[in-house]
Structure formats: C-alpha cells, structure tokens
Symmetry: C2
Subunit: 361 residues, 2 copies
C-alpha cells in the first residue's frame, strides 16, 4: 500500500503478482488503476483491549529528572511504583453475520506484532482481511512484550536485554535468499530463484520488526491463557512461527477454548514427554510448511514440531500436514502470509477449516 | 469489555454510567444483557501499514548467543547490521460510503499507543468506533517508539532509557484524584469527587501504558510528516496530549494535508516565535480541556498551547476553545476519551467538525 516506501518497480511487480480486485481495497489512492473493490464487509463492532498481566512493584530505584515536552518543565519522575506486567493486546473485528461457527484468532511469531497479519509489506490485503471476507470474526493480538501489549523494564522484570532483528537476519532466518544475496539496494538483492517474498519491500517488513526477549516465555504463556479464558467459546487459532509452541501448550491447558489450530511454520512445540497429549486429541491440527526448510535453523525447529505431531497422532489426535512444495507450490518463505501467493495459501487453509466442519451450513 | 480484569462492581457501574446500545457492540458475551447492537458498519477495507523511518547501521557490537525457542538450538545472533528506525504504524478502517469529506486521524499522547482510541478501560466502545459510526474513515496510529511502530536500541539510536509510567504516575498526571487518593485496592481509591475516569478499571489503562522516550521528538516529527505526505488528501486530526505539539508542527510544515485539528488536552505546542503561524491560518483548530487543569503540570502545559492559539488567532487563524467546565460539564480528566461521558464529548467534537463544513451534504 505504501508506494513511497517501495523500491522502483514494486508496484508494477505487485500487479503482475496478483490481478485480483482485493488490491483495490488496500490501494486507496490507486483504486482507479485496479479492479473494483469487493463488496463491503458488514461489521458489528471494531475495537481492542488488553488482557492478562499482574501488578509488579519496583522499589529502590532512583527518580529521574525528565523534560517530557519541549515547551514543558523538567519534571521529577518517580521510577519506583506499581506497574502492570505480562498483559497482551487484542484487536477484534466482529461481523454482523459471520459464516464461521467460531472466532478466528491470528497469533504472530517472534520479532513481529499482530500488524504482520494486516497489509503485506508490498501493500496487498493481509490474512486479517482475507479471513474477515471468508466470514470469520477475526481477533489479532500482540503477545506480551510486543507492540501494543507493551514491554516491562529490564533487568528489573525481564533479566536480559531484548533481541533486535536486522534486515539481514530477517533475510537469512526467514529464508528469502542466500546470505550473500542480501543487499541494502533492493535492485541488487538476489533471493532464492523461486522465493515468493516481495524482497523489494524488505524495508517494510523491517519497519514492523519488534524487539523480542528470549526470557519471556512464561509471561507470554500466561497471557495467552488469560486471553483464551476470557473468550466465551472455542476459537480457531491460526498461528505463526514462535506462536505455535504457545498455541499448542495453551490448547493442552484449555482444550475447551480451542476449536482448531493452523500451525504455520512453527519454530517449536512442547516436549510430548512433558504433557498429556490426549487432552488435545479432539482439536484438529494443520501444519503448514513452505519451501527451503533445509536452511538453518529450520531442520531443528521443524523436528520439534514433527515430534509433537507424531505424538498427537499416536494419542489419537487429528493431524494434517500441508507441505506446500509437496503440492507443487514452490518458493514459499517463512513469511507465507506475505508471500506473493499469500491469498492462495489462505484459501487452502480456509478450505481445511471448512473441511473440519467449522463453517455454518 | 474485559470483565474478568475489572474490579467487582465495575460492570454494574458501567451500566449505570451509560445505558446506551453501543455497549452491546463491545460487550460481546454480555450482548444479551444489554440493548441491541447498532446497525452494522459497511466497511470497504481494513488493514495497517508502517510509514517513515530510515536505515540505521550498527557496528562494533558483540554477537549474542541466544536460545529463541525452548526446543530450538542456541543460536549466534549478529547484533551489528542494518535496522529500520523512526517509522510509525497506522491501522485504517475505510467505510464503503463515508459521510465525512476527509479521513479522520486519531493521534495518541505520551506513554500510550493507538489502542487508547479503541475500547475504554472499562470496556465501552472508544472514539475509533464513535467516529466510524459518525461516518469517517478512521486512521489510528502508533507514533515512533510506541506499540506496533517498534522501538530502537538504546543508547545506540536513542541516547537515554525510556520512561515507564506507573499506575500512581497515571493517577496523578492524568488528574484522576489527589496523590493520597491512589490505592492498589480499587475499592479504596479516592478520586476527585466529580472525576469521570473509571478508576476501578485503572489497571486496564496501566495494561496499555507504553514506555516512551524524552529524546525521540525529532524522529517522531519526521514520521508524522511521512504519514501526512503519504495521504492523498487532507485529514482531520483528533490528537491527544503529547501528540498535539507534533500535530501543530506537522500542520505548519504541510498545511495542505490537514483539514482541521482537534487538540484534546495538549501538553505542548511549538513556540510561535519560531514558526510562520500564517501557514495554518486556514486550518480550523479546536482546543478541548477537561477539569482540574490547575493540577501540576497542567498550568505550565496549557500556557504553551494557549500562547500558540493566541498567536494563531493574531495571525488570522480560526481557533475555538472548548473548556468543558465552562459548559457546565465537570469532572473530565486528562483521559477524556476514557471518561464516563466520552461519547458525549466525542459528540461535541463531531458537532464542531460538522460546523467546519467537513461532512458531506
């Protein structure tokens, strides 16, 4: 959507990538240049809230003298005090007449916020929009210490400093191309030949990169538990990367709040030896994998997910595997929801959701 | 909306505070207990994007060894590299048939994110929902270093550490009650007798508190400039607290992109001696103030805003003042969009917007 932020040629590449009318909905100013927008969504309510967390009290820290506004006075800020810590953020769009039986939640992965489910880096409608148009009430969340969930002081609350992901680390870890294919000049980037991530818009992915901690899992798991506990019915969870381990554990803890899980490129899973797999025997699980999985660290990451899936299957669970290359769909990166065929893959996921009997009628 | 997070009695207090049907839209599970939801919104598109920012390259920092997922390997993370810095985040909801002539932007204040415009801490629909139902396309943003805009390393990019606002600092700075009226026990809180903020839900405001820097103004101003530059038409900017100084300066820099400014409880403004006030002579400005303005630091903050308004008036500008107590509306705190009469005040603002000729027909 953000043409000014895109490298020359991206807009035209985008049109080549998808000639679909939904682009008009996101293109705004460019609407006249593309097919007509789809029918309006009939929305009952839009909003957001925070959930989970607890009061933590800081003591023994010195006050600070800070000028918070250029034309304001220097103020003495008391650092000690009571803070809310461990909460997460949820934004919801509820339809007037959803065709899905249950809400659909989008849980992000590491170093990202729920914004990764909105417009793609090259400005196409994201999966939030897709699943709304498919008839789901959609809940998009920011996990603890990400985005609008806020983050707490360290080392007082979290012991270590956060991890910041550079453009190169995203390029390498998300399997866009070989390490020496990275370049700050979009015109000189050399992705894997079939790679589907819009690498000319890499900067927009970088704009959405959120610092993340390696020491926050316990807080995050509690926040997701509070989020599910707050819901009055089970939800379909579509979850990416780091979020997958949280979603599987949350489902084991509260299976009555989970209708199905779509695990997109999971980076981990609970150790089956430490949990009662039978608790999620009745929760359909779909695992979605892109291409280039042989690139480090993905073989190790996937092993943990496969081990969980095998144990769930052995416990009588329903586990489906969607390996895109095995279906002849090549070139998907770790950021499947941003790749140039993101709508096609969302459609495959929607088909699986429908096949589980989770749509009305 | 988040009943589980609210102190006993808040839900019932909420019903007492507003018997309006719009509560049903946000109440979800409680919908059956309250009046019917309003008519559906007809939404053309919904999404989000990042805008602004620049590449900053870090060098000379040691790598880190981190295990990013419990079941994954310890990985060597290169800290040096290229990062996007200074961008901001925008979420948009575009109506199928807006009755407003231009988009309406909601800009948050200090220590908060755009989430402050969604549901109120006690679970009523926020101003995002109000202005959508009033017929505006609504854009809600997170400024640089807040929420989904992400934040950069310090001291490498920003020199100092951020400021975290405790529940007590919010209580005092936002004028909910006297310092000795604060208590962690909601039942023991003693706000100003007429104060309209739902103090039993103070924790939910604390859940949305975002660390903020005192050294980020230049980045933030550039990001807002990029945001306005990206828009293809002028917008009505409804802006709170810290955001007011950014909005006034942005309007002076790009008056063609600003249709009107509603400055709610501004904490500062550019020094008129340093700017060309005539540049925003044709941009209507409304200043909205709540009650208890005599509480520190508000007299000093307001002086800067009044000085700007006086200079704009002298330069031939159109400036209106909405002092709520002078209208007999007592008890509004700094968080007017969260107070128990938030819909009433939004209605007054909508009336002013309409009076400027900014609605169709």
């Amino acid at each position: 959507m953000n043409r000014k932020d895109l490298a020359p040629g991206v807009a035209s590449r985008r049109h080549a990538m998808l000639g679909t009318g939904v682009l008009a909905a996101a293109a705004g100013p460019a609407a006249a240049q593309v097919p007509a927008a789809p029918a309006p969504l009939r929305v009952a309510s839009i909003g957001g809230f925070h959930v989970g967390g607890e009061v933590r009290t800081l003591t023994g820290l010195p006050p600070r003298e800070v000028r918070l506004t250029a034309t304001g006075p220097v103020r003495r800020i008391e650092v000690n005090g009571d803070y809310m810590v461990g909460q997460m953020y949820v934004q919801y769009v509820k339809l007037a007449a959803p065709s899905a039986r249950h809400p659909l939640m989008l849980w992000h992965g590491g170093g990202l916020s729920g914004a990764c489910w909105e417009d793609t880096p090259d400005g196409r409608p994201g999966w939030q929009s897709f699943f709304l148009r498919a008839g789901h009430d959609v809940y998009v969340s920011d996990a603890f210490e990400r985005g609008r969930a806020s983050w707490p002081r360290y080392p007082e609350i979290l012991p270590d400093e956060p991890v910041f992901r550079s453009l190169f680390e995203a390029w390498r870890t998300f399997r866009f191309g070989p390490p020496d294919g990275f370049n700050l000049d979009p015109a000189k980037r050399r992705p894997y030949p079939e790679a589907r991530f819009p690498v000319a818009a890499l900067e927009n992915l970088g704009r959405g990169a959120i610092p993340r901690w390696a020491s926050s899992d316990a807080f995050t798991q509690r926040a997701y538990a509070a989020y599910l506990a707050r819901m009055t019915e089970p939800s379909v969870i579509v979850v990416h990367s780091q979020g997958v381990a949280f979603a599987l554990r949350a489902a084991l803890e509260a299976p009555e709040k989970v209708a199905a899980i779509v695990a997109v490129e999971g980076s981990g899973a609970p150790d089956p030896a430490t949990v009662d797999m039978a608790r999620m025997r009745n929760i359909p699980l779909l695992m979605v994998w892109g291409d280039f999985i042989d690139q480090d660290p993905w073989p190790a990451y996937r092993r943990a997910v496969d081990r969980f899936a095998a144990a769930l299957t052995a416990a009588g669970g329903k586990v489906d595997l969607m390996e895109l290359p095995a279906r002849g769909i090549r070139g998907n990166t770790h950021m499947i929801m941003h790749d140039d065929n993101s709508e096609e893959i969302a459609g495959l996921i929607q088909g699986w959701i429908a096949a589980q009997g989770l749509m009305k009628g």
